[in-house]
């Protein structure tokens, strides 16, 4: 009974890792193709000061590619999952704050689009799903590590 449960969980970790990695790599491609529009989308959130917007826009796509790549390789999956969880939480906070402030914008999450509040809600749900998936993979990976002294 136990080995079956374990292998089922391993398959679940693999499936979730592949799905989250695919979403992140796709999102990275969308952003790297239209950096100017992504910068405008980022500025529309009115969270980051102007000096940090373009640095964020330049750094995020490689970070998303790296997260996707790390998730696909078992030895680095744990760090990739934590990175996805952290960044999804950040996206969620930014989108939720924009929705609460009554802003209608294109988040630029998956490339260029027209500003829409309904799309913002969908993207908020996607962020929750990504965060949950990444947290599942991370917790599964970390609880299987041998105990180490600090």
């Amino acid at each position: 009974m136990m080995p079956n449960d374990n292998s089922r969980r391993n398959y679940a970790v693999l499936a979730v890792s592949i799905a989250v990695a695919a979403v992140f790599i796709y999102a990275g491609i969308g952003k790297i193709r239209e950096p100017l529009q992504f910068a405008d989308s980022t500025a529309a959130f009115a969270i980051l000061p102007a000096v940090f917007i373009n640095l964020f826009v330049m750094g995020l796509p490689p970070f998303e590619f790296a997260c996707g790549g790390l998730l696909l390789v078992p030895p680095t999956r744990r760090v990739g999952a934590l990175a996805v969880a952290v960044v999804s939480l950040m996206f969620f906070t930014a989108l939720a704050s924009a929705l609460l402030r009554g802003l209608t914008l294109d988040c630029g999450c998956f490339g260029v689009g027209a500003p829409s509040r309904s799309r913002m809600w969908i993207e908020l749900a996607v962020d929750i799903a990504l965060f949950s998936g990444a947290l599942f993979v991370y917790l599964r990976s970390i609880t299987r590590l041998p105990a180490q002294a600090p």
Binding site: Q37, A39, A50, A66, L70, I142, Q148
Partner: protein, 207 residues
């Protein structure tokens, strides 16, 4: 009759084991917390490496971003200065028209209709007969359309963008006013109002 098990030593030891935390659990929890901290450190290193990679990619791209962000208005002003040496930016804003007037102008072809959205959106669908003068690439598009615009100086010009909160149409209309075009107005409903009304649309690029 009292239960003999209540006085037994077995019951006492099992009760103690429930209340007292497992002595091995605390170092294990500390080890897990330490592992999470170390993983967060690795994520921070990953972010720094990604930023460095992003800077290199940006530097080697055809249209690199400046290090400090410029708003669409700042970029637009910079574009305009490539067309006129000292544009009179402090001009009265362009007038606005509603859907009915815009629709009759489109159907009677009595006005020159300009779409201020990026070419990507224009190609996906636009008002029939409209020309693309995108705010994003204004100087380039303006040079392309200069002949058509100069030939239609007697016609009114109506500019639209996505609608709602978009301001590309106002920027383009005000730029045209500052470039010397006299009769320029903005259709505030934009593409959203046009398509929501179920009016005909054209696709593809038209210059």
């Amino acid at each position: 009759m009292p239960n003999p098990d209540l006085n037994s030593r077995n019951w006492q030891t099992s009760a103690v084991s429930i209340v007292t935390p497992d002595p091995a659990a605390r170092p294990q929890a500390r080890s897990l917390a330490w592992q999470i901290v170390r993983d967060l450190g690795r994520v921070a290193i990953l972010a720094i490496v990604s930023l460095a990679a992003g800077l290199v990619i940006n530097r080697s791209s055809v249209h690199p971003l400046p290090i400090v962000y410029q708003s669409p208005e700042q970029r637009f002003d910079a574009e305009l200065t490539t067309l006129v040496a000292a544009p009179p930016f402090k001009i009265a804003p362009a007038a606005t028209v509603g859907l009915d007037r815009f629709r009759s102008a489109v159907e009677s072809k009595s006005a020159l209709i300009l779409d201020a959205r990026p070419s990507l959106f224009f190609e996906q669908g636009h008002v029939p007969g409209a020309l693309n003068l995108a705010r994003d690439d204004f100087a380039h598009d303006y040079r392309d359309l200069a002949g058509v615009l100069q030939a239609a100086t007697d016609k009114p010009i109506i500019v639209y963008c996505s609608g709602g909160e978009c301001h590309d149409s106002r920027l383009v209309a005000n730029a045209l006013l500052s470039l010397g075009f006299g009769n320029v107005s903005v259709f505030t409903g934009g593409w959203d109002a046009w398509s929501a009304a179920g009016l005909p649309a054209s696709k593809g690029s038209v210059r």
